[in-house]
Symmetry: C3
Subunit: 255 residues, 3 copies
Amino acid sequence: MKSLLSAFAVLALFFTPAVYAQQPTPPSPDDVRKVAPALEAYRQARLFDDLWKRPELSARDRSLVTIAALIARNQTIELPFYVERALDSGVKPAEISEAIVHLNFYAGSSNAMAAVAAAKDVFARRGITPAQLPAAAPPKLPLDEKGEADRAQRVGQQFGAVSPGLVHYTTDILFRDLWLRPDFAPRDRSLVTVSALVANGQVGQIPYHLGRAMDNGLTQSQAGEVLTQLAFYAGWPASFSAIPVFKDVFEKRPK
Amino acid sequence: MKSLLSAFAVLALFFTPAVYAQQPTPPSPDDVRKVAPALEAYRQARLFDDLWKRPELSARDRSLVTIAALIARNQTIELPFYVERALDSGVKPAEISEAIVHLNFYAGSSNAMAAVAAAKDVFARRGITPAQLPAAAPPKLPLDEKGEADRAQRVGQQFGAVSPGLVHYTTDILFRDLWLRPDFAPRDRSLVTVSALVANGQVGQIPYHLGRAMDNGLTQSQAGEVLTQLAFYAGWPASFSAIPVFKDVFEKRPK
Amino acid sequence: MKSLLSAFAVLALFFTPAVYAQQPTPPSPDDVRKVAPALEAYRQARLFDDLWKRPELSARDRSLVTIAALIARNQTIELPFYVERALDSGVKPAEISEAIVHLNFYAGSSNAMAAVAAAKDVFARRGITPAQLPAAAPPKLPLDEKGEADRAQRVGQQFGAVSPGLVHYTTDILFRDLWLRPDFAPRDRSLVTVSALVANGQVGQIPYHLGRAMDNGLTQSQAGEVLTQLAFYAGWPASFSAIPVFKDVFEKRPK
C-alpha cells in the first residue's frame, strides 16, 4: 500500500503540470531557439530591451495596449505573460478586469471568455481576491448628458431604422453604462478601444474613438506610439493601415 | 488488487476531465466572477435574459449567426456551448454539419477543422450518428441556370484573367455545388455567410451576399437584428463597420 | 508490485497522448466524417487531389502560402500538418524558421510564438537541429541603397510626424535588417507577406507588397494562383476582397 501511495505521488508529479495546463503553454526561450534563433534574439533586443523602454509611452500604457491587442485578436498563448507584466507595470487587477469587460463589447463575447480563461490562473497565483475587483454594478461616473444626447441622436438618425437593436444597446449598455464604470479611467477605456480597433483592422471606427481618446487625455505623441507598440503585437500591416487615419484625425483636431 | 482498482477509480475521477478535454474548457460562471464579476452579470442580464429573447430573430437564427461568427473568427472556447444551444433551439444536426461545410469555404479550411474538433464531442454526447448527417454528395437542389450564368459571366469578365483558378472554383464548387446541397436552406446559407462577412470585417463582400440573403427570404428586420446579435459576438466595431453597408443595400432594393 | 507496474503501463498508454498533446489535436478523417462527411470528401477531392496539384504554383509555394495564412490568422490546429507538408514539398527547415521570423513582424509577436509552439514538435520529430537553422544575425544580403532611401524618405515625409517610432523601426528592423536576412529569398519573403495581407484582409497594404513581390520575381500567373490557394485557406471573402487590388496592380505595372 505504501508503494502504491508513493507510486501515486510519482504519477502526480508526472501528470499534474500538463493535466492542469488547460491553457497552451507558450514556448520557452529555449523552445524558440530550437525553431528560430533570430526570433528569440529580436524579442530580447528589439522588444523587451528597446520598444518597451521607449519614453513615449509608459510600460503601464504599453501593457494595456498589448493586452487589448491580444484579447481583440483572441491570442491567448502569451496573455498570461502579459497580464503578469501589466500587474508588474502598475496596472491594477481592477483595471485588467475592466479591460476584459470593456473588450467583451469592443471585441466580442468569446474574446472576453478566452481572456478570463487566460487571466484566472494569474489572478489566483497572485492571490487577487474578488474584493480587489470592481463590483458588478458600482455607482457610475457622471454622464455628459448633452454630448451623449447628441451622439445618440446622430447615430439614431443614421442607423435607427437599419438596426434598432444595435442603436438601442449602443446607448443603453455602452455609453450609459460601460463607459461610466468607475474603476477604469475613460482615457484608459479609449486606449484599449483604439488598440482593439487598430489590431482588428477596423479603421472605419478609428476617427470617432481616436478623437474621443484625445478628448479623454491621450496625447498625440502617445497615440502615435500606440501604433509603434501595435506594429509589434498586431503586425506591421495593422499599424500601417491605421496610420493615415491617425494622421487625418491629428490634422483635423482644433489646435 | 482491490485497492489498486479503487485507486484507479480515484485517478480516473481526478484526471479524466482534463485529460480528455483536448478542447480548452470555457470558464465557469464562478471562474468569470473571480476575474470580472461584471462580465458574468452582463452575460446573464444582457445576453441570455435579454438579447437572446428579442423577438426580431428566433433563437434558432441567433444560434446560426453566433456559430457562424465563432467559426469565422476561429473561436472555439465557447463553440461546444453554442452548438448545444443551437441543437436545443431547433437547429438540426444536419444543419450544423452543413454550416461547418459552408464555412469551410467562406471562412477557411482550418476554421472548419477547428469547428469539427469542437463539435464532435457534442455530437458524440448527444448520440448523433452519421445517418442523421447529410451525405457527402446528395442530390442537388435545382439551379437557377440564368442567374448563375449571369453571375459567372460577370465575375469571369472582371477577374477571369486575374485569377482563373479562383473564378473556376467559385463556379464549380460554390455556386454549382455547395449552395445546392439540400440539407441547409439557401436562406440559412445566406444567414451564415453574411454573419461570417460581418464578423470578419469583409464589408466589401456584404452587398452581394446581403442582397442574395434577402432574395432567399431574410427580411430587413431580421437582417438588422443580425447586426445586433453580432455586436455581442464579434464586437461592436464589426457591426458598426457593416451597418452603413446594410443601410445602402436596404435603400437600393426595389420595394 | 508487478501488477502495479503493468497498471502503470496501461495508464501510460491511456493518458500519455493527451497529456503531452499541449497543442490541440486536429480531427482525424474519421472524426471529420462524424460531424461533416462532405467536408472530408471535399478535402480529399478538391483540396489534396485537385488544388494542390494545379501547375500554376508549385507544392513548395503552396506550402509557404498556406503556412503564412495559418500563422497570420493564428490558426494552429493544422499548422503541424502543413509544416510537415512543407518540409515534404522541399521547403527547407531554415526557410520555415525565417517565415516565422518574418511573420513575427508582418502578423504579430504572438502569432510567431504560437507558430513556434506548433512547429517545435515537428522539428524535434524530424531531428532538425539548430545547426540547420539560420543564425540570429547572419551576414546580410546587399541593400539597394537608392531604392531603400527613396522608400524611407517617402514614408518619413508622410508619416514621420504621426508615429516616429513606427517609421524608425520600419527602416531599422524591417528594410535594413529582416528583408536582408539571407536564408529566405526576397521573393519568398514577398510571397509570405502578400499571403498574410490577403489572409488578414489588409488590402490597403497589398499594392506596395504585391509590386515588390513581382519585382522580386513572383509572376502574374503565380500571384493569381496565390488567391486561389488562399480562398481555400483564408476563405473566399479574403480572396475576393483582394482580387480587384491584384487586378489594379497587374494593370498598372509597366509591361
